[in-house]
Amino acid sequence: MPWLARQLVRLVVVLFCVTLLTYMIVNILPGDVAIVILGNLATPEDIAGLRADLGLDRPMLVRYFDWLGSALSGDLGRSYRNGEPVVQAIIDRLPVSLQLMVMAQVVALGIAIPVALLSVRRPGGLFDRISASAAFGFLAMPNFMLGIVLIYLFSVSFDLLPATGFTPMSEGLWDNLESMILPSLTLGLIEWTVLMRVLRSDLLTTLKEDFILLARAKGLPPWRVLLQHALRPSSFTLITILGLNIGGLIGGAVIVEQIFALPGVGRLLLGGIFNRDLILVQGTVAFIAVGFVVINFLVDMLYAVLDPRVRHVRFRS
């Protein structure tokens, strides 16, 4: 089988297992939805009636395939709480989460790339050591802690930026960006550390190659050697790490949306969990997991496009 077809089959299998596992976690674990909806005073008949209405009296695998069938046609059911279609709820909140993650990546790359380039100019030099220590420090900061510290610094002490709340882009680009600065800093200030370390170590490897020596022998200034010759071949691992980090970024987004009261998918999930809104939690978790798998798949593909060797030698840790 050709490489691409094999990868697609693998993708489909993983997606199937992931949705099945989501379904099982949400459905096998204790906590009867009917009791949650009706309250503790409900009679057994009422409970049995509602379970039948919701289709909960059928075997789990049957329900799973039902759910999967409608999910494939774009229907994740309706929230038990307010009857809102789950798909609509996710679509409404997705732009906020995406904006947060993209801005966080911009912050992370915006710090990581210059710092890595500057620190390989003199490995072991002053800048290299300071940036390595800074990275070590930021790496030890949980995002919920950094978020609180940033709110304390920028909102409470100096009153520069709003502490919580979200302004949609339609009500002014600047207000929107202002409400997203602290959240994206919270995520980006932690993520740059990993990216910087990876890029730095790859740059150091690349700089030992002959073509760098040649570029230097031609008399190119060091910044041109770094930017034009060394950066591109050193960025393969960076791209992989960017893909792998998306899982952490999604988890971070859940926390950051909660800290800064941003109406994103993460807060939708948390709200669903607190309300015991089974169908909403199931849909959201499945959506997040499927999104994550697909993004990782695309990153793998991108990697193969950039570096044809990958297509022949599968890398496995």
Binding site: R121, M141, F144, L269
Partner: protein, 287 residues
């Protein structure tokens, strides 16, 4: 370009690693202090971490309350120390659970190869297909909140990483001559796995465990911060930071003190973990 810059860029100067040894005293001392206080919390005359004194709420640090009081007038010092107990219990036990299960999976995969390996790698891929925090949230939300369930959920989360470490190392050791020798004299698979391969897995697994502790402490903090971790009256650093967030403008110490303690602990753990990893596996010191 100056000559020294060019030289520096080409030859990466190896950093002197010996100088780090004495710098280890501070993080190690802090960790010992945290562990000591967490163990002896009941016997050092601390006030009840759950006892509320609403008149004395949000008091800044003073002689009476060394770290001040929180939103409900509870003693912060006592809560931070009992919170350390929570963090350490979860942080130490969850990775052990993950290592027992993940280690077994990884070792079988690396030793038997073939179908077993395929199944194990598939299983790991599926678990890794979930963003870890989302999986942890879902587990604790449906298992119910308790110290045990949080530990269980985070333990399950550490299975894939543990399995990978075990698998990679088993693959490397399983082809060595002494394993072949053991097989030649008729040792069973079980005996080879437990007597020949397992002892060699312990050092990398131990180094990894140290890193896992700090990751799990952060994850427990995140769950408790979101209100889905350790249930309310029981002190937890993440929960304390979440509580303190409400009063960030009037009593910032209620959030910043547990945040600082958590930061110091995670930083120290990473520091010691890096050291141990460098000692165990010199190749990884490059990163």
């Amino acid at each position: 370009m100056s000559a020294s810059a060019a030289k520096g860029a080409v030859v990466a100067a190896p950093r002197p690693r010996r100088r780090w040894h004495w710098a280890l005293a501070l993080p190690l001392g802090w960790l010992l202090l945290v562990v000591f206080l967490a163990i002896t919390a009941d016997w050092i005359g601390l006030p009840d971490p759950s006892a509320q004194e609403l008149i004395l709420r949000r008091k800044p640090p003073s002689a009476e309350f060394l770290l001040g009081t929180d939103n409900l007038g509870r003693d912060m010092l006592s809560r931070v120390i009992y919170g350390a107990r929570t963090s350490l219990i979860v942080g130490i036990c969850a990775p052990i659970l993950g290592f027992l299960v993940g280690g077994a999976i990884g070792m079988s995969a690396g030793y038997f190869r073939g179908k077993v390996d395929m199944l194990a790698v598939g299983f790991i891929d599926i678990l890794l297909a979930f963003p870890s925090l989302v999986l942890a949230l879902t587990f604790t939300a449906y298992l119910g909140q308790s110290l045990f369930n949080v530990t269980l959920a985070l333990g399950i989360l550490s299975i894939p990483a543990a399995a990978r470490v075990a698998r990679a190392n088993t693959l490397a050791w399983a082809n060595r001559d002494f394993v072949l020798a053991a097989r030649t004299i008729g040792a069973s698979d079980w005996r080879i796995l437990t007597r020949e391969i397992l002892p060699n897995l312990l050092p990398p697994m131990f180094a990894f465990w140290l890193v896992a502790i700090s990751v799990i402490i952060v994850a427990e903090g995140a769950l408790s911060f979101l209100g889905l971790g350790i249930p309310a009256p029981q002190p937890s650093w993440g929960g304390m930071i979440a509580d303190g967030r409400e009063a960030l403008d009037v009593a910032p110490h209620t959030a910043l003190i547990p945040a600082a303690v958590m930061f110091a602990t995670v930083l120290s753990l990473n520091f010691v973990g890096d050291m141990v990893r460098n000692m165990v596996d010199p190749r990884r010191s490059a990163l």
